[in-house]
């Protein structure tokens, strides 16, 4: 359905000039620098899959989508969408895919939504009969009836997004490309979009490729995640696998039984003195990252030391009253990955 092979794309970025004659000075050489947006992206998506593309801003997600939809031509590498090279058969591919950019609208701002959908129908040459059927499906699926006759400029963001999704479905696309379809939406609106996408995927077999920053989207919709960072695919698989691959940093939380037990006894009193009574725990393979009264947080890497070994060695050195193991959630894993990018 979609195949990308070593796609590569770099942009010339012009340093913006300000002041007088900026339009003329923009023509002068020496003001540009090369930015590698996509370094090497390869993957393939089968019919009926629903795939999320994750990655920090500027990782190359949108650029990849733009190449797969025929908007941009890559510097090197190749891709096929529906068996066609999208930038060579732009119009044929466009006729069989639907594209929604969450940040923009393709609807006519001043016209009722129904007029926009009708115009889209004529742009794709959809026969009246099929249009009527598809419109009926969209009205039900996206619950458009309450605002179908209202000008697009008066719609809420969630309604507008549903309208845009409807506009992308009028010509029965085989693939939907969605660039941040839930950005800025409230929980109810997000749920509506997700339900609609699930329905389209399951009952109509529409292949969906979406980019998002919302992990709830991914958890609800996609069995498969492509994580793009620095213009490369760094993970291709399930969301859980992402955690095992990148989320090896865990935390052991222990409660010390008695602060005086492992050190010289001091007069039991205020918590401050208790805290001072035991220094940072020293355990091989782990680092104390936080302490609060008797509670200590020990960070460790699962690949270096197993949880059971660590617990055993902590217990042999310090008397414990309680312990728990904290695994990172997906958000933390991704946030960590994003943060490491800038370092």
């Amino acid at each position: 359905m979609i195949v990308a092979e070593e796609l590569k794309k770099s942009f010339r970025v012009t340093t913006r000039r300000t002041g007088g004659f900026s339009a003329f000075r923009a023509l002068l050489p020496g003001s540009t620098s090369q930015v590698e947006a996509v370094r090497s992206v390869s993957f393939s998506i089968k019919a009926g899959e629903m795939v999320a593309v994750l990655g920090p801003n500027g990782a190359g997600k949108s650029t990849t989508i733009k190449m797969l939809t025929g908007i941009l031509v890559p510097d090197s590498g190749t891709a096929t969408t529906l068996g066609l090279v999208p930038w060579k058969s732009r119009r044929s591919v466009a006729n069989r895919i639907g594209v929604v950019f969450g940040q923009r609208t393709q609807l006519w701002w001043d016209l009722p939504l129904s007029d926009s959908l009708d115009l889209v129908r004529h742009m794709y040459g959809v026969p009246a009969q099929r249009f009527a059927e598809n419109l009926a499906t969209c009205r039900e699926l996206l619950d458009l009836d309450s605002f179908l006759d209202r000008p697009v400029r008066q719609l809420s963001l969630g309604q507008r997004m549903r309208g845009d999704l409807a506009a992308a479905l009028i010509h029965d696309p085989e693939i939907l490309f969605l660039d941040e379809p839930t950005i800025g939406l409230d929980l109810v609106a997000k749920a509506r979009i997700r339900d609609a996408l699930t329905h389209l995927n399951q009952s109509r077999g529409v292949t969906v490729l979406l980019t998002t920053h919302d992990l709830a989207d991914v958890a609800r919709l996609c069995q498969r995640v492509l994580l793009i960072d620095h213009g490369r695919v760094v993970h291709d698989g399930g969301l859980e696998a992402l955690r095992t691959q990148f989320g090896s940093g865990c935390t052991l939380v222990v409660d010390l039984a008695d602060p005086s037990a492992s050190d010289k006894a001091q007069s039991p009193g205020a918590p401050e003195t208790e805290e001072r009574s035991v220094g940072p725990l020293v355990v091989p393979g782990a680092i104390e990252t936080r302490s609060e009264g008797n509670r200590r947080w020990l960070a460790f890497d699962r690949r270096e030391v197993s949880a059971s070994d660590l617990i055993a060695s902590v217990a042999s050195r310090y008397p414990l009253s309680d312990l728990s193991l904290e695994e990172p959630d997906i958000e933390t894993v991704i946030a960590g990955l994003y943060a490491s990018r800038t370092e």
């Binding site: 794309k9 942009f11 010339r12 012009t14 913006r16 900026s22 339009a23 003329f24 923009a26 023509l27 650029t63 733009k66 939809t69 025929g70 908007i71 941009l72 031509v73 930038w87 058969s89 732009r90 119009r91 044929s92 466009a94 006729n95 069989r96 895919i97 594209v99 950019f101 940040q103 923009r104 393709q106 006519w108 701002w109 001043d110 016209l111 007029d115 115009l119 004529h122 742009m123 794709y124 040459g125 959809v126 000008p151 010509h171």
Partner: protein, 278 residues
């Protein structure tokens, strides 16, 4: 069926009507916009008349003759703006990324931009131009209007609008290459109409040459007006020593060649945009 079965002319009309209907939703605003364009142009024309209150003629051109030139250029420009505004207003769309939307639709890019912003409100400028031409009839130095002159005028106005339209297309192509080149482009479009509002023989030689050979503004109204008025041009104004009538008759060919060049440049700019993603 790999590409949609769409008849582009009827789609154009549909999209143009949608555009007008969208604007008509704010009826008062729409009418004020027409009035605004009309009034602004009236001031320009009044300024011209005030000038002729002080001097009897401008480089040998009487008030009525200049009014004819001015009116022709206004009418041509109004038509070009009405049909070419999609290209004229492209720069902000390229900057915001809205232009990408065009590339995911199964229609020719040129057509989509062409059909994206039909501006009926430009009728204000057109009417103003028509009034100036009407006024020029009161000048005894002007033409004895025969039916054939009206035909010539109509052809000249349409030819002129094609030349201005092609300039807008080139402006759009420019916007695809240089993101903040709008001001420079306005120099050619709006500067062009101002230039074409006055007799070209008033200007210095480099400007005359540029208006004949680079951006063929001379063919918008100067050569046709010379022919209509039966005027003699100063030395060196007429390329290859051709008569004004021959030049006026060749204006449509010049306009179509110029438009052809503009379309080729446009296509290459779209390809370049896809290659570089400005």
């Amino acid at each position: 069926m790999s590409q949609p079965d769409v008849f582009l002319p009827s789609l154009y009309i549909r999209l143009a009507i949608a555009r007008v209907r969208g604007r008509m939703r704010y009826r008062v605003g729409f009418l004020l916009m027409i009035l605004g364009v009309f009034v602004a142009n009236t001031f320009e024309f009044v300024a011209l008349l005030v000038l002729f209150g002080q001097v009897r003629e401008l480089g040998g051109w009487s008030a009525g003759e200049v009014a004819l030139l001015w009116g022709m250029s206004q009418m041509s420009f109004a038509i070009a703006e009405a049909f070419g505004h999609g290209f004229e207003g492209l720069a902000p769309q390229v900057r915001s990324g809205e232009f990408d939307q065009v590339l995911v639709r199964p229609l020719p890019v040129f057509f989509q931009v062409f059909a994206s912003d039909f501006q009926a409100q430009r009728i204000g400028r057109f009417l103003q131009g028509a009034m100036a031409v009407w006024y020029s009839r009161s000048d005894p130095a002007s033409i004895q209007w025969h039916a054939s002159d009206w035909t010539t005028l109509t052809f000249a106005v349409i030819t002129g609008s094609v030349i201005f339209f092609a300039t807008f297309v080139l402006g759009g192509a420019w916007a695809l290459r240089v993101v903040d080149g709008q001001e420079l482009m306005n120099t050619f479009t709006y500067g062009g109409t101002t230039l074409a509002s006055y007799p070209l023989d008033l200007f210095s030689d480099p400007i005359r040459r540029a208006a004949t050979w680079v951006l063929p503004l001379a063919f918008v109204n100067y050569f046709p007006a010379l022919a209509l008025l039966g005027r003699v041009a100063p030395d060196g104004m007429l390329p290859f020593g051709l008569t004004p009538i021959t030049l006026a008759l060749s204006a449509p060919i010049v306009a179509l060649v110029y438009l052809g060049i503009a379309v080729v440049v446009w296509d290459r700019s779209v390809m370049r945009y896809q290659g570089t993603g400005t």
